[in-house]
Symmetry: C2
Subunit: 154 residues, 2 copies
Amino acid sequence: MKRNTVLSCTAAFLFVATAAAHGVGTPTPAQRAVDYRQGVYHAIGWNFGPMAGMVKGEIPFDAKDFALRAERVAFLSTLPLEGFIPNSRVGKTDAKQEIWDNMDDFKSKMKTFQTEAGKLAEAAKTASAVDALKPQFGKVGQACKDCHDKYKED
Amino acid sequence: MKRNTVLSCTAAFLFVATAAAHGVGTPTPAQRAVDYRQGVYHAIGWNFGPMAGMVKGEIPFDAKDFALRAERVAFLSTLPLEGFIPNSRVGKTDAKQEIWDNMDDFKSKMKTFQTEAGKLAEAAKTASAVDALKPQFGKVGQACKDCHDKYKED
């Protein structure tokens, strides 16, 4: 069946891509979870960076670009949690065991991040000056920091 | 300034996180671009997998979960392109030089992926059976494959 061939190829590609990135065979479910959540954090960082640059005055404020990146971070903020599956503190990870020992608190901190990132995305839709966005941007940064301080290796 | 401290801490965290993942110092812009686009692809693969499982009948169809993952893939499909900056074929990457030699065609293939993924997300909002989603899922898979065949190392 042609369709099945396409599906199988695609699935194979994705697994091979992940495996190749680590120079090993098919990754374990735990390693895939690590790759997933780290991948999402990389994507968050990539989009957070230019916003931070604008807030700090290091690069010119571009309302459209800021709004786009704020929307992305808000969307991406909803993704990492499901990557913290049981027994996935494997390989190169900065995730502390405390995450799994305090999952309710970890979820609560992730929810705060999502809420604040969502508010920033909403505010950025209509803001015409970066000053109007600084307080909410600070809240998003604080939400990152609050979680990292407790649950991320230095 | 408290706010600036928070911002600086957050920015530092993000860079350290990226660097730590590679066991080196602050990554170059090219390496950050690689990390970003690979991170997005990991996130796409993580969400594509369960949909493929449902389409192939390996796991039970869950309309709500399928729709969520289709929406995520559609959103994520808009992200990777900006990671393919000039001179970023560095480190562990499966990106072929042909991407930069044929950027217009690469962009066109990425656009096809975005369009087909968007159609799948739209269809998944109302589909009550997986059979109704198979043709469009196949088109998304084909869009992945068409780009990988030409622009991704085996």
